[in-house]
Amino acid sequence: MSRFRPSFFIPLIAFLGLAIIGGMALQSTLSGNRNPSQLPSVLIGKAAPDVALPLLQDRQAELALGNFQGQPLLVNFFASWCAPCRAEAPALEQLSEQITIIGIAYKDRRSDTTEFLQQYGNPFTAIGMDIDGRAGIVWGVYGVPETYLIDTAGRIQWRHAGPLTRDVITTQLLPQMAEMQ
């Protein structure tokens, strides 16, 4: 009594097709191959932008990344008003034994930055003041803290938005640094 009609299977088949795609996407998201919120930096593999910034200690002098060419660098955007920056301060302190770290104080006041460094330690070889955030725009900074790894040729090799947790350092940063050497 029930008539079989192939056309009535079309919705089911279409749905199963969509479900398979969704399942695959979910699978790769779960396995960590894909993070929808992680937008790749367009600067990876390109020369680090050299925006002239006044130094924290000396208004007249400018921070030039070119001066550090020939050695790997870590460029860390931070701010005194940012709580995760405090959290990652000890990690930076440790890293400063292995690599030169340049700090860029993002949208911060000199007095606040100085106080922040006194309180949480200063792992930085040099600190530039990005008071109006223009360097942040050129670098494509997503938010502070944000860290860039620069190779001996001055090219950006790796970028991480957010605090450097132990996990990020051991699974991503250190292998990247080892690869460069």
Partner: protein
């Protein structure tokens, strides 16, 4: 036992009650056992009360800032104004899921209480399907997203709520949207019950239509609120971004709009049954996708404030069952609902079928634009978005054709042929389209073809509706205006209002699209910027302390460029929410029917100047005015339906007879 644990217990009770609701009435309906069938409404009511208690307990925890509850600690803050403490309840995954469940339960309870004249078996089956949906989501809440989880160490203060969500629009937008999404579950339950019993008839459609209408109205308002929120809160000056989450709400709306029209054909003509069942399944499936795709972490979006891929597995499981099983049913039982095709293309139902085809194509376009990037990424690994150019080129033309048909439908007669008013109506619409096209070309230089089409469509539809109103209400020798008004069915009035809402909406969208002006400048205090016949002076920029944020505020003075007359003072802001260290842009808007002045403050300081974005957006508020009219039209049509008296026996017998005949024939 704390209130929170009591809420948790209530949620578990709701789960158990829902399980009862999904099994017992179904069995009762199969056995024709009235006693068992009546357990359905009782279970639905008690489950609704239990989930109301659960939701109340959670809201109380938020109001009291009880940071020993993990959800409150993660999403609230003691410095937050009370209203945002309350709205913070559904500003996160667990809480919004609970709200979703609560609304589902309330729909179930209203269904249980209403529809006295409704055939008992139909009602029992609908409640059972409704119970299955709620069981699924209660399980999801209890097993993966427990809102009542406690923290061992309660923090001193909470982590706050995403400041972008701290907004009065956001306090009501999700509940309204959920009211729409969840309302479609009733239409879905009707469809599944119809597939189980095979009784899809005119009576079935008559009972279902008000539910579709209610859900559609809420969905319309919910989407409009969301778009309005994006307009004033995101500070980009736009009102629709083709963002995956916006698309996710548009798709069920398009499907529900199609369903709304096809259900009329089932009720009036007894045709398009299996199609209507499919649409009802589709509409609710899409609203499930709409609510939960955001949570699964599958798509990137500005809205993904609550994404977690681990929960995605559960969601995908629910989706598979909730959509897959009815579609298997449809493939198996659907052919029984087929009727002998009996319609002429030149008829009311012909126009409605065209409407359905176009709306389904539009849904498919949005679906493709939303998921194609995901599919492509799976295959090639490249991450792309299709964005507005794709939708402008595909979605807009389809909706344009739909607008053309909107004039034809109402002036066609059922079955075959036209009504006497067709000639004058079409003529009036065509003349108006031509005139507005000519006026448009005269006013705007180099008008794009799409814009010209939009302008002509506005004239076409406005005149078409006007002519139809005139033809139906015009005083004649036999009937005065009042008498004809009295005789006018309420759903016709509702249709006019809703269709006219589209005219108003198109006016707003076209006005903004064609005539908006925009100025992006870097200005220092004292600078004057000219925009759309206004002189805007940046008076000063100052810092200000809000309840839980610090703001940089600009003071702008608007004067008429010609006369120097003072127009307004606008104060756009940039806010830094200290607890969340997030920055938001608060656009200053002066909304007027003629157009909005819209100002956004960017970065800068007194030395180098501040970046300012100024817009003038003509007629833009008509977009939301038009959507509100659409929803109002739906409400008028819904409330105007004659109260259903108990179905007289002859009608029921007819239904059964028809079914028996159909079986006999097959």
């Amino acid at each position: 036992m704390g209130l929170t644990e009591f809420g948790h217990f209530a949620l578990i009770s709701a789960f158990v009650l829902s399980l009862i609701q999904s099994a017992v009435p179904l069995y009762g309906a199969a056995r024709q056992d009235m006693q068992l069938m009546l357990i359905g409404p009782a279970a639905a009511l008690s489950a609704a009360i239990a989930s109301l208690i659960a939701f109340g307990a959670l809201v109380t925890a938020f109001i009291r800032s009880d940071f020993s509850v993990a959800l409150v600690a993660n999403h609230s803050h003691s410095a937050k104004p009370l209203i945002y403490k309350i709205s913070g309840t559904w500003g996160n995954h667990e809480g919004s899921l609970l709200l979703w469940i609560l609304i589902l339960m309330i729909y179930g309870a209203v269904l249980a209480l209403s529809g006295r004249g409704m055939p008992t078996r139909l009602k029992a089956r609908i409640l059972a399907v409704q119970g299955m949906i709620s069981s699924g989501f209660l399980a999801f809440s209890l097993f993966t997203s427990n809102p009542f989880a406690r923290l061992a160490d309660a923090p001193m203060d909470g982590k706050g709520l995403n400041p972008i969500l701290q907004d009065p629009g956001l306090a009501i937008h999700p509940p309204m949207l959920y009211l729409g999404y969840v309302g479609l579950s009733i239409a879905f339950a009707f469809a599944v019950a119809g597939l189980i019993s095979g009784d899809v008839d005119r009576l079935w459609a008559k009972w279902m239509r008000p539910w579709i209408m209610a859900a559609w109205c809420a969905l319309t308002l919910g989407i409009a609120l969301g778009s309005w929120w994006a307009y004033y809160e995101l500070g980009w000056g736009g009102w629709w971004f083709w963002d995956p989450v916006e698309n996710a709400s548009l798709m069920p709306w398009l499907a529900a709009t199609a369903l709304l029209h096809s259900a009329i054909v089932v009720e009036k003509r007894g045709q398009l049954k299996s199609w209507t069942v499919l649409l009802a399944i589709l509409a609710f499936s899409l609203s499930l996708v709409g609510t939960f795709i955001v949570r699964s972490g599958l798509l990137t979006s500005v809205h993904s404030f609550a994404s977690d891929p681990a929960r995605g597995v559960f969601i995908l499981g629910i989706l598979l069952v909730a959509v897959g099983v009815p579609l298997i049913f449809y493939a198996w039982r659907g052919p029984r609902l087929m009727t002998i095709a009996d319609f002429n293309l030149k008829s009311r139902e012909g126009a409605l079928i065209a409407n359905n085809m176009l709306l389904v194509v539009a849904t498919a376009i949005v679906l493709l634009g939303t998921f194609y990037p995901l599919g492509l990424e799976m295959i090639t690994g490249a991450r792309i978005t299709v964005g507005p150019p794709y939708f402008d080129a595909t979605f807009n033309p389809v909706m344009g054709v739909l607008t053309v048909i909107m004039v034809f439908g109402p002036v066609m007669a059922w079955r075959r042929g036209a009504t006497p008013r067709i000639k004058t109506t079409i003529l009036a619409a065509a003349v108006a389209a031509a005139i507005s096209g000519i006026v448009g070309i005269a006013l705007v230089n180099d008008m794009a073809i799409g814009a010209l089409a939009a302008v002509m469509l506005i004239g076409w539809l406005a005149a078409g509706i006007g002519a139809d109103i005139w033809a139906q209400l015009r005083p004649s020798p036999q009937f005065s205006l009042g008498a004809r008004w009295q005789r006018l069915p309420r759903d016709v009035l509702g249709m006019w209002i809703a269709h006219f809402g589209i005219v108003v909406f198109l006016l707003g969208a076209t006005g903004d699209g064609l005539f908006r002006s925009e100025q992006v400048v870097r200005a220092k205090p004292g600078d004057v910027i000219e925009i759309a016949g206004r002189e805007v002076t940046l008076l000063r920029v100052f810092e200000r302390q809000g309840p839980n944020f610090q703001a940089l505020t600009a003071e702008l003075e608007y004067r008429d460029a010609a006369s120097g007359r003072f127009i307004a003072r606008l104060m756009p802001e940039k806010r830094v929410y200290t607890a969340e260290r997030q920055t938001t842009t608060e656009a200053a808007i002066r909304p007027r029917p003629g157009g909005d002045d819209y100002a956004v403050l960017g970065d800068g300081d007194d030395r180098i100047g501040y970046s300012l974005r100024l817009y003038y957006k003509p007629l833009i508020s008509w977009i939301w005015g038009g959507t509100a009219l659409m929803a109002l039209g739906g409400l008028v049509a819904m409330t105007g339906r004659r109260r259903q008296s108990a179905p007289n026996n002859s009608e029921v017998k007819t239904t059964a007879d028809v079914k028996a005949m159909a079986r006999g024939r097959a």
